[in-house]
Structures are given as C-alpha cells and as structure tokens.
C-alpha cells in the first residue's frame, strides 16, 4: 500500500521528463530483481546469467514485430513463454549443481544468450543492435516517459504482490527450507529439484517481462542487455537491497539506477565512487539495506 501511494504521489515532484525516465528504469530493473530475489534470496540458488532472460524478453519485442509482423504486446507474452521454456530446459540439468558450480553454469548460460544475439546479425542486427517498434495498445501508441512510468510502475507492483503472495504460501515455505537445508527439505517430502525449477522459471519470466519493457521503452536494443555486466548488476541489486526482501529489490534497483546518474557530477571518478559506496553499504549493512534497516528499527534479532 505504501509503495502504491509513493508510486502515485512521487511524480508530482518530478521537475522534468528526465525524472520519469529514471523512475521507469528503476521499476523495470526492480521487476527483474524481484524475480531474481525469489530465486537467490529466497530459494538460495544463485544465477549469474539472469540477463540472458532480460535479453530474450528484449529481443522478442524487437524481432517479433520487425521480422514477423506480430503485435508488440503479443511478443511480450511470447517472449515470457519462451523464457519460461528456456528456463525449463536449461534449469533441469544445471539446477542440480550447487553454489559456485551453479554460478559458473548460469554464467555460461548468460554468455551463450549474449553471443547468439551478437552473432545472429541477420535477425538481431548484431553488436549494433536493432530498433524496437513502439508498443501499440488498442490503437494508442505508447510513447513518452510518463506513460511508461505508469505502465512499468503498475507492473512492478503487480509483480511485487505476486512475489509476496508466493513467500507466504506453502511453495514459499518449501523454497525457504531449500535455502537452509536441501536434505531436510527432501526428507520432509519436498521435491527439491521441481521446486527449484519452478522458482527458476518464475524468475525467468520476471526478467523477460522486464527485458521487453526495457526494449520497448528505449526503442532500441543491443546485445549488452543480456551481457555479463547486466547479470552482475542484477545480482548486486539483489544483495544490496537485501536477500529475500522483495522491498529490498526496489531499493537495490533504485540505488543502482539513481546513483550512477547522481554521481555523473564527479566525472571520471564516477565509477570509483560507485564502487566505494557499494563497499561501504555492504560493510555496514551486511544483510542488505532493507533487512539491516528493519533490524535496527524493530530491534529484530541481534
């Protein structure tokens, strides 16, 4: 409720369209991060290749309308379905792996998607990327940051609510149990492989929708969207905001989208300063921003 209120009221204070643009990027990334957080923070399974699904979603709304003449909204759903299918087939073998091994395998998946997007130049425009046709809904061509602000914000809140629902459900308890002890979860009757696959698919769909939005919003897409740095950025947002805190996903995404913009006044020191701030945050708020701040406010645990 509070988030919805902020979401509606904040634009009154936006002095320019530029702020809407930042808001859109925050919501889009927060959506992808919320999904990744279900996988990482909640079920405890790392993915260093999640931008791969961002890429599948982004290129779905680029290739579908351009080459196949399909409507963008349809391609968004088709991309999500494709991501789910890819997550299913990739997840089955690699989710057996644990810890660092899973990290490397997912890393490989992300690289694979990025390379395919770069090399299939006939379809994707190669490294230069391609133009993404505007989203048209009921004859209304969606353009402008303010329109996208409302669309992406509403979608994020929807994804946020679904994620919270999941956390408070039998499936959510099973996922959290897997995080702490797979073996105990198994002997209590939880089909661990299947639960992991389920949450992997859900997180892939979140990322895919976010990727589609990103491409439609920017009107242009390059293979960088699926790149390694993007994947790392998503993981950083999860950890910074707080593992297992969906609200933290919004905070983490917000910080990592806004900070680089705010730090541009320091010119060449921008990246160094960003790195320094991240280090300081992790030292003093080691469980992530939202859980650590919550612990201070509510005095919950040490």
């Amino acid at each position: 409720m509070a988030i919805a209120a902020i979401f509606v009221s904040v634009p009154w204070f936006f002095p320019s369209a530029y702020y809407y643009r930042i808001g859109v990027l925050v919501f889009i990334f927060a959506l992808a991060v919320a999904g990744l957080n279900l996988l990482m923070g909640f079920a405890g399974q790392v993915s260093l290749g999640h931008a791969g699904f961002l890429g599948i979603g982004a290129y779905s709304v680029a290739i579908g309308p351009t080459h196949l003449g399909m409507p963008s909204w349809f391609c968004l759903f088709a991309g999500a379905a494709l991501s789910a299918a890819v997550a299913f087939f990739v997840g089955r073998p690699i989710l057996r792996l644990k810890g660092h091994y899973l990290a490397v395998a997912t890393l490989g998946f992300g690289l694979l998607v990025a390379i395919v997007l770069t090399n299939e130049a006939g379809l994707t425009g190669g490294p230069d990327g391609m133009t993404v046709p505007r989203l048209t809904l009921f004859g209304w061509s969606v353009r402008g940051s303010d329109a996208w602000y409302w669309i992406s914000g509403t979608t994020f809140i929807g994804g946020f609510v679904l994620a919270l629902n999941l956390m408070g459900s039998p499936t959510g308890r099973a996922l959290q149990a897997i995080h702490d002890s797979e073996i105990a979860a198994q002997v209590l009757g939880i089909d661990v492989a299947r639960k992991k696959l389920t949450v992997f698919i859900i997180s892939a769909v979140y990322a895919s929708v976010a990727g589609s939005y990103l491409a439609l919003f920017n009107g242009h897409v390059t293979p960088d969207v699926a790149g390694f740095l993007r994947s790392i950025e998503l993981v950083a947002m999860v950890v910074l905001g707080g593992m297992g805190s969906i609200l933290g996903s919004l905070v983490g995404a917000g910080l990592l989208v806004v900070l680089p913009q705010a730090l541009t006044i320091f010119h060449e020191y921008e990246q160094a300063l960003l790195g320094l701030i991240l280090i300081v945050f992790m030292i003093f708020l080691r469980r992530g921003i939202v859980p650590s701040v919550a612990a201070v406010i509510f005095g919950w645990r040490k």
Binding site: L166, S169, P170, R173, A174, H179, D180, S181, L188, G189
Partner: protein
C-alpha cells in the same frame, strides 16, 4: 507386520564396504535400535533407508512394497521421515515455520493459487499452522513457536527436528542420535518424547550412543561393526552377547560399558 525390511543391503565408498549385506526387519509399532562403534555404518544405513544414498546392491521394502532407489521426498510421501545427527534446522525461519514445512506433503494448493493468494491458500495456511502447533506441543515446544529457530538451545533443536518429522505424519520415524550432545535432563525429555511417539503407533528406528536410553526403550537392538551385522536381539540378549561385548564395548572403553551394565 514388517514396516521396514532390508535384504542384503550393501554400499561401498571408494572400495570400502560401508554397509555389507545387512538385513534388518523392523516390526510395526516397535522401537528398533541400531548400535555399533563409531564408523560401523549406522548413519550410512540410515542414509540408505531414507533414500539419500542409493544402494549398490540389495533391496529395501517399506510396508511390504519395494522402496529401493526411491528419492527421499518419495519415501516421505510413503510415510518415512527422519531426523539428523548433525542438525538440519531451517535457521532463517521461526520455530513454527520449521514445523510448517513438515506439513508440505499434506498441503494441496498449486503454484498458481500460491502466486495469486487464492482463498484456498489462506485455508491451507491455517490448517498447516494448527497441525504444526500440535506437533510442537507434542515435543513440549509450544511456547517457543514464534521464536527464531536460531535462538533455541541445542536440546530444544533436537526436539524441534522430531516435531518437524512428526508433522509429516510418518508411520516410520528414523531418529539419528537424538540424544547426542544432550545433557541428562535433555536426554530424559527425548526419552519421554520417543515413548509418546511409540504410543501413537509410530514405529521408531533409533541410532544412539547413549546405551542407557537404548537399553531402556528398545524392543530390538541390531548391532553393526565394520558395516556388517554382529548381532541382533532383545536388549537383554544383546547385552549378554560375548561378541558384542568384545567388539563394541571393548573398543568403546570401559566408561560406556559401565553405563550400559549398571
């Protein structure tokens, strides 16, 4: 009726036969203890029976049906549950939530219902909550339900694992050293909990080093040494068996012998 039978069950790790042609037959409603010196294969046997390891040879039957090679979660759905020697607690969750996870096999909502928080999920959560609290009450942890699992003392965590296993409503419960590391008072509590479990008709298979507990509570005792069966019988038969005294108690030191025979 035999609830658990193994036939020439064997597994080797790197050439070492950790369990070598072991036959056990556990009658329904009994307390069946497995004892033996450290490294004799007790926990390995548990891991085979609970599906964590797949046997190289031999077979397992659960309530008369073949259960060899089934995954742990499939065995759980057939009514087998267990606890662990080294605690496997869900430390991020509350005490109550730990036990609620134990209700998983009785929960009926699908993933879509869970995502949309349909009314069925609310009802399911209520039912799970009630059943979990009942399981906690059985091990005397009802007052700790809302506490974080990580804040519990060692002996209480041992009982929490039992409550979590009971929440699955097993017909066969494997307890791996439930009293290990517990002080005498905590051991007494575990003893009482096991007796109440058996009274409810649940068969208990116990691995335990505390000889006083084993001899007090068991209907039958199976002795392992170096992965093989050394002896089996009632507690009286086992404690007077010369091979057992020599192989097991001799190795284990006089202190344990005194505790067992006083």
């Amino acid at each position: 009726m035999m609830i658990l039978e193994t036939d020439r069950l064997s597994i080797a790790f790197g050439g070492v036969r950790a369990i070598d042609e072991v036959n056990i037959a556990v009658e329904s409603g009994q307390v069946f203890s497995i004892i033996g010196p450290n490294g004799s294969g007790k926990t390995t046997l548990f891991n085979l029976v609970s599906g964590i390891y797949t046997p190289d040879d031999g077979s397992i039957r659960l309530a008369g049906q073949t259960a060899t090679g089934l995954a742990p979660h499939e065995l759980a759905r057939r009514g087998l549950s267990r606890t662990f020697q080294n605690l496997q607690i869900f430390y991020r969750m509350s005490v109550l939530e730990n036990v609620m996870v134990g209700r998983h096999r009785h929960e009926r909502t699908g993933i879509l219902a869970d995502l949309l928080h349909l009314p069925a999920v609310t009802l399911q959560n209520k039912a799970t909550d009630a059943a979990a609290r009942a399981a906690l009450a059985r091990v005397g942890l009802a007052d700790f339900a809302e506490r974080s699992a990580s804040s519990l003392a060692y002996g209480a965590l041992k009982r929490l694992e039992i409550a979590r296993a009971l929440a699955t409503e097993p017909s066969l419960l494997l307890l791996d050293e439930p009293a290990a590391g517990c002080n005498p008072v905590e051991t007494q509590e575990i003893d009482a909990v096991i007796r109440s479990i058996v009274k409810d008709g649940i068969t208990v298979v116990l691995v335990e080093h505390d000889m006083r507990l084993v001899m007090n509570i068991s209907d039958r005792v199976h002795v392992l040494a170096n992965g093989r069966t050394l002896a089996e019988g009632t507690p009286e038969q086992v404690r007077s068996n010369a091979a057992v005294i020599q192989a097991y108690l001799g190795i284990h030191g006089s202190q344990e012998a005194i505790r067992a025979f006083d």
